[in-house]
């Protein structure tokens, strides 16, 4: 039995350091992105995941390479946690031809077929029906794979959310819905957008088992994801996880953050997923300062290499503007 099939977390020193390494890679990558944005290397919208890293990292532990992932425009962390190379993601942020989506998508549209990473959707709620369909295809083909769909709590107000949840439950599809509840949809607090702000309760309406988890605690997230993925893989139908988390940065780089108190942000930062897990590792003697420093150096090197790669990568020639609109292999699909 592979690790992912087992519904439990085996927190060996090695595994704990791996969780930390992945979270720190995302953190370091995105801090670099923020810097590159001010230098106008990265343009358009940039939605940082800083503060929410435990979610993608924890959930991905429960997924196998053949499983599929659907995410949103705030997906750099998911892409990295899935194992897509930092260089390919960074080149995409630059819009270079060596980016994961040939530079066509940028920050909001990271795709990687090899990793079964289906984006990168910038329409809130737009990914949920797609996840339902991927899972439907698996079910119809007799494949025991999980489709994991990440979205924010803001999406829960969209019709596509309710329609997708119903379809998945009705047809008992292998979907793992992961709602990353960071409390705000742009500037709108959850209590101001949902008549019932208990997001997990929405799943109950469809008879879908749901778990609420501390999204700032990577081990809790991993454990919840393992339990849920195990049930989904066993053909028990869709599962729902609401992960309570927080974004430390603005919604995007255009947001003046007039809707929340600085003190609230500071409070949450104290419970940050990286800080807290690091402290736990040190307090329990699972890791030493030198381990943490080594990881810091390691992720800095990866991010530095990614920037070097993106800088050196070519721009796509304007002559290729209309490539990839339609397949050149008309009639080839069987």
């Amino acid at each position: 039995m592979s690790r992912a099939e087992d519904g439990r977390v085996h927190l060996t020193r090695e595994h704990a350091l791996e969780l930390l390494r992945r979270m720190m890679l995302i953190r370091s990558f995105e801090e670099k992105c923020a810097e590159l944005y001010t230098q106008e290397k990265i343009r358009g919208f940039l939605h940082l995941y800083i503060g929410e890293e435990a979610n993608a990292v924890g959930v991905m532990q429960a997924l196998e390479p053949e499983d599929a992932i659907v995410a949103t425009y705030r997906e750099h962390g998911h892409a990295l946690a899935r194992g897509i190379s930092a260089s390919a993601v960074m080149a995409e942020m630059y819009g270079k031809a060596s980016g994961s989506s040939r530079g066509r998508g940028g920050s909001m549209h990271i795709y990687d077929a090899g990793h079964r990473f289906y984006g990168g959707n910038a329409i809130v709620g737009g990914g949920l029906p797609l996840a339902v369909g991927l899972a439907l295809a698996d079910k119809m083909q007799g494949l025991t794979r999980v489709t994991c769909c990440f979205f924010g709590e803001g999406a829960a107000a969209e019709g596509e959310f309710h329609e997708s949840m119903n379809l998945a439950a009705l047809w008992k599809l292998p979907v793992l819905f992961v709602c990353e509840n960071n409390g705000y949809a742009m500037g709108t607090a959850l209590s101001r957008s949902e008549s019932n702000p208990d997001i997990a309760a929405h799943a109950a309406v469809f008879g879908m088992p749901a778990d609420v988890v501390d999204g700032m605690n990577v081990v809790d997230v991993e454990a919840a994801a393992r339990r849920a993925a195990k049930a989904v893989r066993a053909g028990e139908g869709p599962r729902f996880i609401e992960s309570k988390t927080y974004r430390f940065r603005a919604h995007s780089m255009f947001d003046a953050e007039l809707y929340r108190d600085k003190s609230e942000v500071e409070e949450w930062k104290k419970r940050g997923p990286v800080i807290r897990f690091t402290k736990w590792l040190l307090d329990t003697g699972t890791a030493h300062e030198s381990d943490i420093e080594a990881i810091e150096r390691e992720v800095e090197t990866i991010v530095g290499d990614a920037v070097t790669f993106a800088e050196a990568a070519p721009w796509e020639p304007v002559d290729d503007l209309t490539r990839d609109v339609m397949s050149p292999a008309k009639g080839a699909v069987r």
Binding site: G44, G95, R104, M108, H109, Y259
Partner: protein
């Protein structure tokens, strides 16, 4: 002469919203992040403080729901202004707009009226890629029962909202996202209700008619300036209303210049430029000295990198080339 003052397009929209709410208690604004956040493009900043949460109403992410609620509220006696962040997200509300707002008057045999205003941002130019950059105005312009306008100048942004609110039928207002920071003049008094039916001749000329609207107007005017240095005298027409189209202004201009270049940030196939070209050829075919030219977005979802986004959308160079072709230069 009336005294003038300079404001931005964004401020013009905001002033118009404030004026409308002050003038008519039935007017309210609703949409995602219009209140506390101040609007995705900061158009409604400060209005929630002034008019309160009831009238500057933040909605959940529910485009179909709140747009439909706007239709219902209009039926019920209010004068709602629904803001949809961008035209891309309006696709989630298309059912309500096309199947309900546009049809109610007719389906009810003239009994029902939907005095609703829907505002939304449109257009490319900010490197937001293929789910945030499209110009789908022509989809709305296709639909009988809607009025569709597109202010390209600060003065129009300031004035069109009020006229739209006076309209007994649904009006969709498209604000090009690349215009919000532009400055322009409006009259000091602020009372600027604008006629929504007529196109405006923004530059008069004898040699060629450049017909455009929205974010492309600036580009057309830039091209016209450069062309004038070459001795080519362009007339630039800003459609302002894209449904109905002002045939008279378009055709009068073409009858004079005998040449037309249509500039449209929408895609070429089945687009607004096709409709305008068809009208010119139906009604002014024998006046033309050259085939009608079109400068449109290239048929590709708008890509993220700057150089490809620029290449995908109409630019002054392309407009000049098209003008040269009509003049066989």
């Amino acid at each position: 002469m009336t005294a003038m003052r300079t404001i931005t397009y964004r401020e013009a929209v905001r002033e118009a919203l404030r004026e409308a709410m002050a003038r008519d208690e039935r007017v309210f604004l609703m949409g995602e992040d219009v209140g506390r956040y101040g609007g995705a493009y900061a158009c409604s900043k400060g209005l929630i403080e002034e008019f309160g949460e009831e009238r500057v109403r933040d909605t959940p992410l529910s485009e179909a729901g709140f747009t439909g609620a706007g239709i219902g509220a209009a039926l019920g006696g209010m004068r709602p202004i629904v803001e949809i962040m961008t035209v891309n997200f309006s696709l989630l509300a298309l059912d309500q707009i096309v199947n309900t707002a546009a049809t109610l008057r007719h389906m009810s045999g003239g009994q029902m009226s939907v005095p609703l205003v829907i505002r939304m941002a449109t257009g490319a130019g900010r490197q937001l890629a293929a789910q945030h950059s499209h110009s789908l105005e022509c989809w709305f312009a296709h639909v009988p029962g809607l009025r569709v306008v597109s202010p390209a100048t600060v003065a129009d942004a300031r004035g069109m909202l009020w006229t739209a609110l006076e309209d007994p039928d649904p009006v969709v207002i498209f604000e090009h996202a690349a215009l919000y920071n532009d400055e322009g003049e409006v009259s000091a008094e602020g009372d600027l209700a604008r006629d929504l039916d007529r196109a405006a001749v923004r530059r008069s000329g004898e040699d060629v008619s450049i017909i455009t609207y929205s974010g492309s107007l600036k580009k057309a005017l830039t091209a016209a300036d450069t062309l004038s240095a070459e001795g080519i005298d362009s007339e630039v027409i800003d459609l302002r209303s894209i449904r109905p189209l002002d045939n008279e202004t378009i055709l009068t201009s073409v009858a004079k210049t005998k040449r037309a270049v249509i500039v449209d940030e929408g895609w070429r196939t089945g687009g607004l430029s096709a409709e305008i070209a068809a009208r010119i050829s139906e009604l002014r075919f024998y006046d033309l000295d050259a085939p009608v030219e079109r400068v449109c977005s290239v048929e590709v979802p708008i890509p993220y990198p700057r150089h490809l986004e620029t290449a995908a959308t109409p630019q002054p160079d392309g407009i000049m080339t098209a003008v040269h072709r009509t003049l066989r230069r």
